[in-house]
């Protein structure tokens, strides 16, 4: 369950070409799980920038005099992030969160590789903590175009069995992309799950690699979002459900974390012909189908991944006490 809070900037720091923004966000920190995101208003109360900006939760802190705090890591991409970078301690900030579906954790202590591209590394450190609590081996692969766009190398090193670093210009670690070194690490650690967050191209490559090795992948995507809470339908992607059918699903509420083998990566940005409700699908499906069969679920209730090996990093406990 997400809440909207009037928070406050606790601290803002530069890290390489990124900013680490800490915010007092009571009610959000307590319920955040690795992979959740927050949506922030930018530009002040009368801002002409109407839409919220989405950011992965990097870290949360529940203790202390401030109530819960939430950290994000961002780079300046346009006027909204530029405004955020200008914030000062004590500035008010309107925060909605925690949003989306978090990473699903394995029930067994299996080896996992955590793969981050640029600021996409941000949500992986709390995930690493949770995995290690369950006895999972954690290996990190972090990549970026250049050294200053690499995030969290030290932290990753501290939390993992091994860390591999790639930069496209070779300024740090190996020259190349994360997926160049990934097979080596999977083979060495006998990984069972890949967790990834970063640009779409990287996620697609990670999902492919996982399929090649017959292992699971969990990918946190980044789609353009107007509301972030599931009401506008702007953030959709073609995703295959448990029934094998493709639907345009909302990445803000059914994602941002998806099973890598369920996203139709190369068709993101299109509506594949066999998608439920597409023009081609509607033409191919005669009217009698609608008269005869049960209605097809398009939104919501995409069945949660059914593998036995997986348990959801669920809010069940909190929700139980809340209601």
């Amino acid at each position: 369950m997400a809440v909207q809070v009037k928070g406050e900037v606790l601290d803002i720091r530069r890290i390489g070409s990124y900013f680490n923004l800490s915010m007092v966000a009571p009610g959000i920190a307590e319920h955040a799980r690795p992979g959740h995101f927050v949506a922030l208003n930018v530009g002040g109360d009368s801002s002409s920038l109407l839409l919220r900006r989405a950011f992965s939760i990097y870290r949360t802190e529940q203790r202390g005099v401030y109530g819960g705090t939430v950290d994000i890591v961002f780079s300046i991409a346009g006027p909204g992030t530029a405004w955020l970078a200008d914030r000062q301690r004590h500035d008010p900030i309107d925060i909605v969160g925690p949003l989306g579906r978090p990473f699903v954790l394995p029930a067994e202590p299996v080896p996992c590789v955590l793969i981050g591209g640029g600021y996409g590394a941000a949500p992986l450190f709390t995930l690493a903590e949770k995995l290690r609590e369950r006895g999972c081996r954690v290996d990190f692969v972090l990549g970026a175009s250049t050294e200053d766009r690499l995030f969290g190398a030290l932290e990753g090193k501290r939390m993992s069995q091994s860390i591999a670093i790639t930069t496209e210009d070779g300024s740090l670690g190996e020259r190349g992309r994360v997926t160049d070194v990934l097979p080596r690490i999977i083979e060495r650690s006998d990984s069972a799950v890949l967790y990834a967050c970063g640009p779409m191209g990287m996620l697609q490559a990670v999902a492919k690699t996982a399929e090649r090795y017959g292992i699971h992948s969990q990918c946190a995507v980044e789609e353009s979002m107007a509301c972030g809470v599931g009401v506008c339908m702007t953030c959709v992607m073609p995703v295959i459900g448990d029934d094998g059918q493709t639907r345009m699903v909302r990445s803000c509420v059914e994602g941002p974390v998806f099973r890598g083998d369920r996203v139709r990566w190369s068709e993101v940005g299109t509506v594949p012909d066999d998608t439920i409700g597409s023009i081609a699908w509607t033409q191919a499906t005669n009217d009698s189908l609608f008269a005869a069969s049960a209605p097809v679920a398009v939104e919501e209730d995409l069945p949660v991944d059914g593998e036995d090996a997986f348990v959801e990093a669920s809010d069940a406990d909190d929700e139980g006490s809340a209601s």
Binding site: N41, S224, S278, V298
Partner: protein, 352 residues
């Protein structure tokens, strides 16, 4: 450390004035004049996290069609100055699934529900309305005629008064008498009053206005249209003056026809503009994306704004901007000043 102004939600709020904010959309009574706009609140469930959806006038649901629709490819939106462009393409589950899941939920939750319907043909509109007639929990129907007519080479119904009137009479016939049918008008017409006349003559109980206005953004990096659908509907505060103008013109021409006003409402004062222009109630749309609890906030802001202006009830404010210019009401009259002072008093005593 104690300097930390930890500002969780309920700020030191002024008490709400004791004023009758109830209103009507045709025969449908509403506890207050705040609804959500179609397509900006889905079917209420997500927003119920942020405010109690039964405490606003009603939820207008995303336009539903006969069959499931996947909508258009992405990108489906672009932010614009004080607004956004969208090209969703009416993605939705189809009317059967809508009734079974969304409407049933809204009904159980106790929300007042106005169901927005869309269609590609007069027949589809009638079929969707017919299905809804059989369902429980429909307090009103809003007919979204801003969709392409497949039988007329995709011309939008809203821009063709004859086709629009056919849709409206078909829907009116397929809908339970007593359940108001509101028709949602597009601002993209030369003369909105003549479209309004046509649909009212065809049986509309009221008018919703405005839908989005057609716009376009070109991405200067890719040097192509920003939206996959090329053009999109512009919404948000950027279109508010246009919306107020439409409400004004139609209310002036047909003051007896109830209007559900919308277009860029962000604050209680924005809502008041629509009420003063002649709207009986208002819908909050794009601003929900900015502030998901805004319908509740605007509800309270509007109540204060109406009370501060000395109105005895919301009803007295509807269309008030149309009054004769020579009515002497002493704009800074005693009621206004007194109330202001009273507020100051209560504030200073609260500070002690």
């Amino acid at each position: 450390m104690t300097r930390m102004r930890l500002t969780t939600k309920p700020e030191t709020e002024q008490p709400l004035p004791d004023i009758d904010m109830s209103t009507h959309l045709g025969e449908l009574p509403l506890v207050n004049p705040i609804l959500t706009a179609s397509g900006c609140a889905a079917a209420g469930r997500e927003l119920d996290q942020f405010f109690d959806i039964t405490t606003i006038g009603g939820i207008v649901t995303k336009s539903v069609m006969q069959n499931p629709r996947s909508g258009r490819p992405t990108p489906r939106m672009a932010e614009t100055p004080s607004g956004m462009l969208n090209s969703i393409g009416l993605q939705g589950p189809g009317v059967d699934s809508f009734i079974e899941r969304d409407l049933a939920w809204l009904h159980e939750r106790g929300a007042t529900t106005v169901v927005s319907i869309a269609g590609g043909s007069v027949e589809e509109f009638a079929k969707v309305a017919g299905k809804l007639r059989m369902a429980t929990g429909v307090s009103g129907i809003e007919v979204n005629i801003s969709c392409p007519n497949v039988e007329s080479r995709g011309e939008v119904f809203a821009c063709d008064p004859v086709a629009a009137a056919e849709v409206v009479s078909a829907v009116r016939r397929s809908t339970t008498p007593g359940v108001p049918v509101f028709v949602k008008l597009s601002p993209d017409v030369t003369d909105i009053v003549s479209v309004a006349h046509a649909v009212v003559e065809a049986g509309a109980d009221g008018l919703s206005m405005i839908n989005t206005t057609l716009g376009m953004v070109i991405n200067t990096d890719t040097m192509r249209p920003a939206l996959a659908g090329i053009t999109g509907g512009l919404s948000g505060p950027a279109i508010r003056p246009m919306a107020v103008r439409c409400v004004w013109q139609v209310h002036q021409a047909m003051p007896e026809v109830p209007i559900l006003g919308m277009g860029g409402i962000r604050t209680g004062l924005d809502a008041l503009e629509f009420i003063l222009a002649g709207a009986s109630a208002v819908s909050i749309g794009t601003v929900i994306f900015h502030d998901p609890s805004s319908p509740a906030r605007i509800r309270d802001e509007l109540a204060r704004a109406v009370a501060e202006r000395g109105f005895a009830s919301l009803n007295d404010a509807i269309g008030y901007a149309h009054r004769e210019p020579d009515i002497e009401l002493e704009p800074q009259g005693p009621a206004f000043v007194e109330f202001d002072e009273a507020l100051e008093d209560s504030e200073s005593s609260a500070d002690l």
